[in-house]
C-alpha cells in the first residue's frame, strides 16, 4: 500500500468525483438541474486546492507517480483548465441537451488522465494516463450524438490517436527491451550503460516522439487538428487544445530532462527541424482560414511550435520559460475557444464559426468580445498581456542557448501571426455589423470564467514575478532530481 497517500488526494478526488457523477447519473432518476455541474466543479476545484495545499512527504508515490512540485503545478493547472471548461460548458451543453453525467464525468476522468500523464515516472502509468485521457476525449468530441461533424471529428480523432498510440507503445516496448526497466529514468539511463544500443534507443524515442507529436499536433503529425477542432463542440475544443497538449508537453519536458547527454545530442537536430516546421506551417496555414475555429486550430499548432523551439533549450535553463508559457497558453487558448462556445450557445446547430458572423460583435457584446480580443492579442504576443511575457521568456531562453536562427524564424512567423489574429479583431471591432444570427446572453458561469481569464492574462502580463519565481524553483528542483 502506498504510504504517501496524502499526495494522492488530488488523484482520488478526480477519480471519486467522476465515479460519483456516473453513479448519480445511473441511479438518481430525477436529477435536480445543476447537481452534476456543481459536483464536477467542486471536484475540479477540490483537486486543485488539494494539490496546492498538501505537501506530500515523499517526492513520488512508489516511484510510479511524481508528487513533487512539478507534478503539483500541473495538477493545479489541469484543475483550473477543467474548472474553466465546466464553466464555459454549462449553458452550451444545456441548450444542446448533452449536459448529462457522461459529459461531466468524462471531463473529470480526462483531467485525471492528464494528471497521470504529467506526473508519470513509469511508462505504464504514462500509457495508462494517456489512454484514459484519450478515451475520455473520443467520447467528449462526439458528445453531440445527432451531429455529423461532431461524430466525424470523434471518429477521426479515434483512428489517428489509435495509430499514434501504436507507435508510442512500440517505442516503449523497444525501450524496455533494451533497458529492462519500465521506469522512465531507468530506461533512458540505459543509453549510458549500453552505449552499443544507442541506435535502438534513438529509434524508440523517435517512435515515442511520434506519439507525443500527434497529441501535441507537431508538424507533420498535425493534420487531424483543424478538422477535429472544428467538429468538436467549442468548449470541448478548449479542453482538448489546452489540457491534453499541456499534459503531453509536461511529460515530454520530463523525458527531455531525464534524457542523458548523448541521446539528447542526437535528438537536437531533429527537434530543431520539427520546431521550425511547426512554426512556419502553423502560422502560414492559419493565414488562409476564414473559419475561426480552424484559424485557432492552426494558431494552436503554431503556439506548440514556439514551445518546441524552446524545448531545445530545456537543458540550458529553458525550463522555467516553458512552464510559464504552458500555463499562459492554457489560459489564453482556453479563453478563446470557450468564448467562441459562448457566442454559439443559442444556436442548436453548429458553432458560430464563420468570421463574417463575428462582425460588429465588439459592440453588441462588448464584455465577451473584449475578453476574446484580449485572448487573441495575448496569443499574438503583444503587451500588456501574459502572451507577451511568455513569448519574451521563450525567446530569451532560446537566445540564451544560442539558437539564433531558430529565434529569427520564430520572430518572422510571429509577425505573420499578427495578421490572422487581428483578422478576428478587425471583424469584431472594425467591420460593419452584419445582420447575422442573434447572440444569446451569456450565463453567470461564462461571465465568471471570462473574468478569471481576463484577470489572469493581465496579471501575468504586468506582474509576472510571482509565477516566474515559482516556475524557477520548480525547474531547479526538477533539474536536481533528474
Amino acid at each position: 500500500m502506498p504510504t504517501d497517500w496524502p499526495g494522492l488526494i488530488p488523484v482520488v478526488i478526480l477519480a471519486g468525483g467522476g465515479s460519483l457523477i456516473f453513479c448519480a447519473g445511473a441511479f438518481w432518476r430525477r436529477l435536480p438541474g445543476g447537481v452534476l455541474f456543481a459536483l464536477a466543479l467542486i471536484s475540479a476545484a477540490a483537486a486543485g486546492v488539494a494539490a496546492l495545499w498538501i505537501t506530500p512527504a515523499n517526492p513520488s508515490s512508489e516511484g510510479m507517480l511524481d508528487l513533487s512540485g512539478y507534478a503539483r503545478f500541473f495538477t493545479c493547472l489541469f484543475a483550473a483548465i477543467t474548472g474553466l471548461t465546466i464553466l464555459f460548458l454549462r449553458q452550451y451543453a444545456r441548450v444542446r441537451g448533452f449536459a448529462g453525467d457522461e459529459l461531466y464525468g468524462l471531463l473529470l476522468f480526462g483531467a485525471l488522465g492528464m494528471v497521470l500523464v504529467a506526473g508519470a515516472l513509469n511508462w505504464v502509468i504514462f500509457f495508462l494516463g494517456l489512454e484514459l485521457l484519450s478515451l475520455a476525449l473520443y467520447v467528449l468530441i462526439a458528445v453531440r450524438k445527432g451531429e455529423a461533424a461532431s461524430n466525424e471529428a470523434g471518429l477521426k480523432y479515434f483512428i489517428m490517436s489509435a495509430v499514434a498510440s501504436a507507435f508510442l507503445t512500440f517505442g516503449i516496448a523497444l525501450l524496455y527491451a533494451v533497458s529492462g526497466s519500465m521506469q522512465v529514468a531507468g530506461s533512458l539511463a540505459a543509453a549510458l550503460t549500453y552505449p552499443d544500443y544507442l541506435p535502438v534507443i534513438l529509434l524508440s524515442l523517435a517512435l515515442i516522439l511520434v506519439g507525443i507529436g500527434f497529441k501535441t499536433s507537431l508538424v507533420p503529425f498535425h493534420l487531424w487538428t483543424p478538422d477535429v477542432y472544428q467538429g468538436a463542440p467549442a468548449p470541448i475544443t478548449a479542453f482538448l487544445s489546452t489540457g491534453s497538449k499541456v499534459a503531453l508537453f509536461a511529460a515530454l519536458l520530463r523525458f527531455a530532462m531525464l534524457a542523458p547527454e548523448p541521446v539528447w545530442a542526437f535528438c537536437l537536430p531533429g527537434l530543431w527541424v520539427l520546431a521550425a516546421l511547426t512554426m512556419v506551417v502553423g502560422n502560414l496555414t492559419a493565414l488562409y482560414q476564414t473559419r475561426i475555429k480552424r484559424l485557432l486550430a492552426y494558431s494552436s499548432i503554431a503556439q506548440m511550435g514556439y514551445l518546441f523551439m524552446t524545448l531545445l533549450a530545456v537543458k540550458q535553463g529553458g525550463l522555467p520559460a516553458l512552464l510559464f508559457y504552458l500555463a499562459v497558453y492554457a489560459v489564453m487558448d482556453l479563453g478563446a475557444f470557450g468564448l467562441i462556445g459562448s457566442f454559439s450557445a443559442g444556436q442548436t446547430q453548429s458553432d458560430r464559426d464563420d468570421l463574417a458572423d463575428y462582425q460588429g460583435l465588439g459592440y453588441s457584446q462588448p464584455w465577451r468580445a473584449g475578453v476574446l480580443a484580449v485572448c487573441l492579442i495575448s496569443l499574438a504576443g503583444l503587451p500588456p498581456t501574459a502572451g507577451f511575457m511568455g513569448k519574451f521568456a521563450l525567446f530569451r531562453a532560446v537566445l540564451h542557448s544560442d539558437y539564433v536562427v531558430l529565434a529569427v524564424i520564430g520572430i518572422l512567423t510571429a509577425i505573420v501571426s499578427l495578421y490572422y489574429y487581428f483578422k478576428v479583431v478587425v471583424a469584431m471591432y472594425l467591420s460593419p455589423a452584419t445582420a447575422g444570427a442573434t447572440v444569446p446572453a451569456a450565463d453567470l458561469a461564462v461571465h465568471l470564467a471570462g473574468a478569471i481569464i481576463l484577470v489572469l492574462i493581465l496579471w501575468l502580463g504586468l506582474a509576472p514575478s510571482a509565477l516566474f519565481g515559482l516556475v524557477d524553483r520548480l525547474a531547479a528542483a526538477l533539474a536536481l532530481s533528474s
Binding site: F395, R396, L399
Partner: protein, 500 residues
C-alpha cells in the same frame, strides 16, 4: 528629489481616466467633458514638473531630474524604472499639450462610439508618457508596443473609407519592426549578461557593455534602427504613413504626426545610438543619405498631392528627415536643433492637421480642386492657417526657424555638403507649402460651400497653439536650456568610449 511618485501618476492618471471615460459611454456629453478635464489635469501636472525647476542628480541609473525605480520582474532583471530628464520632460509636455487638442478637435467631429474614442485617446496619452519616461529597456518596449494598439483602433474605427486597410497596414508595419527590435533587445540583454554576469534591462547599465564584435553590433543596431525608422518614418519604410494619415480621423492624425513619430527619433537618440556607438559610427552615412534623400523625395512627392492631408503627411516625412540629419551629425548644436525641432514639428504639423480637419468638417473634402478663396469667407481661420504654414516653412521669428538654423549651423561646421543640401531641401519645402496656401486661401472659390468662421472652441485651440509657436520662435532659451544638460551628458558618455 521628490518622494512623491509623480512620474507614475502622470502615466497612470490618463490610463485610469480612460477607463472612467469608457464607463461613462452612455452620455457622450459627459465623456467629452471628462476627457477634457482629465487632459487638463494631466497638463497641469506636467506643467508643474516644468516649473518646479528640478536639478539633475546622479544615481546608479544615470543622471536624472527625477527617478522612480522599483523592482518589477526580478527573475528577468527588469525594473520598473522611470527617469525624467530635460528631453523627456519636453516631450511629455508636448504629449500633454497636444492631447488637449486631440480631445477638443474631436468634440463635434466624433459623433458615434464617443466613449470608446476618448477611451483610446486617453489610453494612448498614458502609454506615450510612459514611453518617454521609461529608463528600463523592457518597460520601454512594453509601452512601445502598447501604443500601437490605440492608434490601430482610432484609425480603424473612426477613419475614412479605406480605414481598415490603413489600420492593418499601420499595425503590420510598426509591429514587424518592433519584433525585430525585440529579438535584438533580448540578444543584447543575454550578451551583456554573459559578459558581466548581471542580467539587466537598465539602459544605463547596458550602455556599459564591452565590445560585442562589429558584426553583432551592426545586426543589433540594424534591428533597432528598423523599428525606429519605420516609426520616424525614414524612406524607404515610410509608405504606411500617408495612407494612415489619409484615413485617420483628425485627432488620430494629430496624435500620429505630433506624438507617435517623435517616439522613433527619441528612441533612436536615447537607446539605439548610445547602446551601439560603434555601429552608429558605421551607420551615420546611411542615416545621412536616407535623411537627405527623404527630405527631397518627400518634398517632391508632396508637390504632386491633390489631397491637403496627404500633402501635410508628406511634409511630415520631409521634416522628420531633417531631424534625422541633425541626429546623425551628432554634435551639441545639431542635437539641440533636432530635439527642439521635434517639439516644433509636433506643434506646427498638429496645427495644420487640425485646420485640415476643420476644412473637412465644413466642405467634406480635402481636395485642392474644391478649395480656394477661403480668405474672404473665413478671415480668422485663414490668418491662423497662414501663420502655421509659415511656421512650417521656417519663417524667422517662428518656432521652426530656430530648430532649422541650429541644425544647419551645426551641420555646416562638420559636413558642409550635407548642410547645403539640407538648406536646399528646406527651400524646396517652401514651394509646396506656398502652393497649399495659395490654392486654399487665395484665388477664386472653385466650389460652393457653406463656410462658417471659427467658433469659440476652435479659436481657443488655434490661439493656444499659435502662442506656443510664437513663444518658442521668439524666446527658445528655456526650452534649449532643458535640452542642454542631457545632451552634454550623452556626448560625454560616448566620448568616454573613445570614439572620434
Amino acid at each position: 528629489m521628490l518622494q512623491f511618485p509623480i512620474l507614475t501618476i502622470i502615466i497612470f492618471w490618463p490610463i485610469l481616466g480612460s477607463f472612467v471615460v469608457l464607463a461613462a459611454y452612455r452620455s457622450p456629453r459627459l465623456v467629452r467633458w471628462l476627457s477634457l478635464g482629465i487632459s487638463l489635469v494631466e497638463m497641469a501636472l506636467v506643467a508643474a514638473l516644468f516649473f518646479l525647476d528640478l536639478q539633475p542628480y546622479a544615481t546608479p541609473q544615470g543622471t536624472w531630474l527625477l527617478l522612480e525605480d522599483y523592482a518589477w520582474i526580478p527573475w528577468l532583471g527588469a525594473r520598473y524604472s522611470l527617469g525624467l530628464d530635460g528631453i523627456s520632460l519636453l516631450l511629455v509636455l508636448l504629449v500633454a499639450f497636444i492631447n488637449i487638442f486631440s480631445v477638443l478637435i474631436s468634440w463635434k467631429a466624433i459623433d458615434f462610439k464617443v466613449g470608446s474614442f476618448f477611451f483610446w485617446i486617453l489610453f494612448l496619452e498614458g502609454t506615450l508618457v510612459g514611453l518617454f519616461l521609461a529608463a528600463d529597456l523592457l518597460l520601454f518596449y512594453l509601452f512601445w508596443e502598447i501604443q500601437i494598439i490605440p492608434m490601430f483602433f482610432l484609425v480603424g474605427i473612426w477613419g475614412h473609407e479605406n480605414r481598415i486597410h490603413a489600420a492593418v497596414k499601420f499595425l503590420l508595419y510598426t509591429l514587424s519592426g518592433s519584433l525585430f527590435m525585440l529579438i535584438a533587445l533580448i540578444a543584447l540583454y543575454v550578451m551583456h549578461g554573459h559578459q558581466t554576469g548581471i542580467y539587466t534591462f537598465s539602459v544605463y547599465q547596458l550602455m556599459q557593455h564591452g565590445p560585442l564584435g562589429t558584426t553583432t553590433e551592426i545586426l543589433l543596431f540594424g534591428a533597432f534602427l528598423l523599428a525606429f525608422a519605420i516609426k520616424i518614418p525614414l524612406i524607404p519604410v515610410h509608405t504606411w504613413l500617408p495612407d494612415t494619415h489619409t484615413e485617420a480621423p483628425t485627432a488620430g492624425s494629430v496624435d500620429l504626426a505630433g506624438l507617435l513619430l517623435k517616439t522613433g527619433v527619441y528612441a533612436l537618440f536615447r537607446f539605439a545610438m548610445p547602446l551601439f556607438p560603434y555601429a552608429t559610427q558605421l551607420f551615420i552615412p546611411v542615416l545621412l543619405v536616407l535623411g537627405v534623400g527623404g527630405l527631397f523625395y518627400a518634398a517632391w512627392i508632396a508637390l504632386a498631392q491633390t489631397d491637403i492631408k496627404r500633402l501635410v503627411a508628406y511634409s511630415s516625412i520631409s521634416h522628420m528627415a531633417l531631424i534625422v540629419i541633425g541626429i546623425a551629425i551628432w554634435n551639441v548644436t545639431t542635437l539641440s536643433g533636432s530635439l527642439l525641432q521635434m517639439i516644433n514639428h509636433g506643434l506646427s504639423t498638429s496645427a495644420l492637421f487640425i485646420m485640415v480637419g476643420m476644412l473637412d468638417e465644413r466642405t467634406h473634402s480635402r481636395d485642392f480642386a474644391v478649395m480656394g478663396g477661403i480668405w474672404s469667407k473665413m478671415p480668422v481661420f485663414s490668418t491662423f492657417f497662414l501663420l502655421f504654414a509659415l511656421s512650417s516653412m521656417g519663417l524667422p521669428g517662428l518656432n521652426n526657424f530656430v530648430g532649422e538654423v541650429l541644425i544647419l549651423v551645426g551641420a555646416f561646421k562638420v559636413k558642409p555638403v550635407i548642410a547645403i543640401l539640407s538648406f536646399v531641401g528646406i527651400v524646396f519645402g517652401v514651394i509646396y507649402i506656398l502652393r497649399m496656401v495659395q490654392d486654399c486661401l487665395f484665388g477664386q472659390p472653385r466650389a460652393e460651400h457653406v463656410f462658417w468662421d471659427l467658433d469659440f472652441r476652435e479659436t481657443v485651440m488655434l490661439a493656444a497653439l499659435a502662442l506656443a509657436v510664437l513663444s518658442i520662435g521668439l524666446h527658445p532659451g528655456p526650452v534649449l536650456h532643458l535640452l542642454d544638460q542631457p545632451i552634454q551628458a550623452m556626448l560625454q558618455q560616448i566620448a568616454q568610449l573613445g570614439l572620434p
